[in-house]
Amino acid sequence: MMPSWSSAQHPPGVVPQHPPPASYAYPPNPAFIPVQVRQGFGPYTTPPPPPPPAYNPYASNAAQAQASAPGTATSAPPAPVEQPKGSKTEWPESVRRYVQRSFHPENDDASVSRAELEAKLKDTIGSAKENNSLYTIDWDSMPLPQALVRADREAQLKLHHHAASLSLTTPVYTDDTFNPRKRKSNDFANNDTSMPPWHSTNSGRSLEDRISYSPDKRAALDDPKSSKFQKEANKRKRRFENEYKAANISSPSPTPPTSGPIVGTSEVLEKKYLRLTAPPVASNVRPERVLRQTLDLLKKKWRKESNYSYICDQFKSMRQDLTVQRIKNEFTVSVYEIHARIALEKGDIGEYNQCQTQLRSLYAMGLKGNPIEFKAYRILYFIHTANRTGLNDTLADLTAAEKEEKPIKHALDVRSTLALGNYHKFFQLYLDTPNMGAYLMDMFVTRERLAALCNICKGYKPDVKLRFITEELGFESDADAAQFIIDYQGQHLLEDRTEYIAFLTGKAGGLFESARASAFKKVDIKGQI
């Protein structure tokens, strides 16, 4: 559920007004920090009791409980104190103070929207709780969510290659060294995305401010030859040029590059993933020997508990440790392969893609693993995203011997049957997919069924048996096939004829065409390869 209140009042990027609008209900009170948070989080049903004018630990306690509740339906939100359901969480005093501090008007940041702030706060506390570090973190020196959001943007700017796909990051920052004044580009959609980042520091900055930003004073020099107009044009040009340069040269790394990869010394098996904002510290990085034990542990845990968010997080920290130590060997391959498979199974396409990208270059280095399996996935994935360039490149990379390997041959056959519209063969291949390819094929099988249905409706008159559809389009049963047709408003095309059910193709007209067109149009690409 989305925080309905905050998004309605403050679309991302819109600066909250001061003083707060009337709907905030409670006037700002120096002795009490208005507990606006609770209105921002969906699943909370009972309205909070109006807080008394003095500090009320219960009200703010509830607010924190809400603030840390994960937004997804998969895990139950930690119950607030007055609602003893499930595991009861005691919120340390320091966390409460932190939350208060976050919402204190004095700490408002025009560039960080309310929704972002709440999300960040929820994230920070939630992951601390998950980590059991609620009591260990020094909340009083913890940077405010506003600062964290800004730091994230900064990091995103630097890592913009992966930014789109780091969907599962839950960074907890334990240092407070970053500079909250250093504002970077907005990565979220708002009105000033078209402006260079530094101009949005204060959305109220005037045009003159921006002109005088240009350090190039030659603009003022009198050029006897050019007209006034020309000079103006040049000035503009120069300004653009400066901005352009600044915008395109990624911000310099805050620390000078170190001489080489570090060697980790940490002996801890499990480690929470945090995105690095500074060069790694050896004592926090596990050497390969330890990582191997970690992998065994994770494999066991995955089999036993199947807690994906935990597993994914642990794998990400393993990958990070491998990367910072420049470990590229067969062990690296197996880490990425296992993570890719788990992500695939759980439909986490973002992580899956990141792993695939890595695997591709690791295989290219000649490291052993299961390149055949993963190359086949790659082809299937490109079919899903209808990425012709990707398909073409993949074809170019395959050797003649690889093309004969069963998984790859299967994927290539899938590709060519679809290219030629041979749905008959396609669904035969679908029912006989090696390895975990079916997870990928499931992503586009509906779309291909619609395409086939369009074909059949135009090609066959006056009708066919429903059983024919079931068999041709690889449905489990007639009921499934009928349900599929009904789902696309085709109930009137089904006719019960005692011995069999007929599907009146002749009467379908263009019924499935629009569904087909829209199914082919929207291919959600996450963490593009």
């Binding site: 290659h161 006897p224 040049n234 120069r238 653009f240 395109n248 500074a278 519209g421």
Partner: protein, 454 residues
């Protein structure tokens, strides 16, 4: 160096941009193989700026004198140029790297761009931008090859704080960097607001073509769309494309066509490629070949037209590429088509036409089915009919027999045959419908195979 600035002065006197650009070429001229070395040796890093200033002044003193600011700008450009030449000479002697050359050529680029922005370089000099941009791209490519050969992790500390390795950016990093600088030139030309006669806008298509080449090389052809979008936003202020040199128009049209081709918009692609074909110089065989490489697959899908032998006469490579396929399509020989496609696969994939040509199988199939239809002959004349009507009720079994034969004797089951027939109908290659219960195909009496005369 004196020769260099004689050329410079002459170019300025005549306002001949191409002559001026020639002085900035980082290669030896045919008449003077020692050109670079001579220039490099004729000065020293401590005195080069003074030398250049002297040469510029002494050579152009009797000519229309250059504005003080402009001289300053050109001194910067030629000093950077001299420096870059030093690196080129050093590479030739095996004492430097292309990476260094690229870096110093980037300085020349920046100096030149500054010249336009700050020192009032006039628009007739834009061919300098062409030469600079052209070699910037070439040096970037050489630098990338060089770096990939000297294997190992030479990326900086930035990678250390990433979660994963980033293989892609490491590979063509210089060319990516080059793209940024070409875009600076692009903006420099695009945003000039001087009156058209003296506008840098006239440089726009040359630079766009360079950017297209770069994007294609970077395997991100789709980024070219961004450039086209920017361009169309300025279309009103831009001189018409037809006013630009033919060579630039051909290249531009070609890339526009290929872009559409890659987006599977074959109708648009055909339009642009035909334009490029018609504009292209009749003796520019390499370019004509490039255009045909995409135009032929395009035509195959849009109008189902195959290339004639006469058309391919001057292009042996295209004959090898397309003639075997074309023959199979004509004959409706599915098996031979598959083999020909497989044999040419590497070449087709390399040129990004494989996925398009593959669809030519539909046409081969259509031709095969058409033969079945024609072999079926005519229905008996009914009363009152004078012209014979072809037999339009064809058993699926007949089509199946043909498809099995066409597939080299491989058994294709009836359901698959029906699937192929349904496809033909869906794609409007065949008109009619399948009556599954009766096992026959009912074809249209008028034009069962549209566009083929029956």
């Amino acid at each position: 160096m004196n020769d260099l600035f004689k050329g410079f002065a002459k170019a300025h006197a005549e306002q001949n941009g191409y002559l001026l650009a020639a002085t900035l070429s980082p290669i030896a001229s045919s008449g003077n193989p020692q050109r670079l070395r001579l220039i490099w040796k004729s000065s020293h890093s401590s005195s080069v700026k003074g030398d250049i200033k002297h040469f510029i002044k002494s050579n152009s003193s009797h000519q229309r004198s250059l504005d003080h600011e402009e001289v300053k700008g050109w001194v910067e450009v030629y000093a950077a140029y001299w420096n870059a030449i030093g690196d080129v000479v050093a590479v030739e002697d095996g004492k430097s790297t292309w990476t260094k050359v690229y870096e110093s050529w980037k300085d020349v680029t920046s100096a030149l761009i500054r010249g336009y922005n700050n020192f009032g370089f006039e628009a007739w000099t834009i061919p300098c931008l062409y030469v600079i941009g052209k070699y910037l791209r070439l040096f970037a490519i050489r630098s990338d090859t060089e770096r990939s050969r000297s294997a190992g992790d030479n990326s900086g500390g930035a990678a250390l704080i990433q979660d994963d390795f980033d293989p892609e950016t490491e590979k063509q990093s210089q060319l990516r960097d080059c793209e940024q600088h070409l875009k600076r030139i692009f903006t420099l030309c695009l945003n000039d607001r001087a009156p058209l006669e003296e506008s840098r806008k006239w440089g726009i298509y040359f630079i766009i073509n360079l950017l297209f080449k770069t994007y294609f090389k970077l395997n991100s052809a789709s980024l070219s769309r961004t450039i086209l979008k920017t361009l169309s936003a300025y279309r009103g202020d831009m001189p018409a494309l037809s006013a630009f040199p033919k060579s630039q128009r051909v290249t531009f049209k070609f890339y526009e066509g290929v872009l559409f081709f890659l987006e599977e918009n074959y109708i648009e692609a055909e339009k642009y490629l035909v334009e490029a074909w018609e504009l292209c110089h009749k003796d520019a065989n390499a370019n004509l070949e490039r255009i045909l490489t995409y135009l032929i697959p395009c035509r195959l899908l849009t109008t189902h037209v195959l290339p004639t032998k006469a058309l391919l006469e001057p292009f042996p490579r295209l004959q090898k590429l397309f003639l075997p396929l074309a023959q199979c399509i004509r004959k409706g020989d599915l098996r031979a088509f598959d083999i020909a496609l497989q044999e040419g696969e590497d070449e087709f994939v390399k040129r990004r036409i494989y996925l398009t040509l593959e669809r030519g199988r539909d046409i081969a199939l259509r031709n095969l089915l058409r033969k079945v239809f024609i072999a079926g002959g005519f229905d008996e004349l009914k009363e009152g009919e004078t012209t014979p009507v072809r037999r339009t009720r064809v058993p699926v079994a007949e089509f199946r027999a043909a498809i099995c034969m066409g597939s080299g004797g491989e058994l294709v089951d009836t359901d698959e045959v029906e699937c192929l027939l349904a496809n033909m109908i869906y794609k409007d290659l065949m008109k009619g419908y399948i009556a599954r219960e009766r096992g026959i195909v009912v074809l249209s009496k008028k034009g069962a195979f549209p566009g083929t005369g029956v």
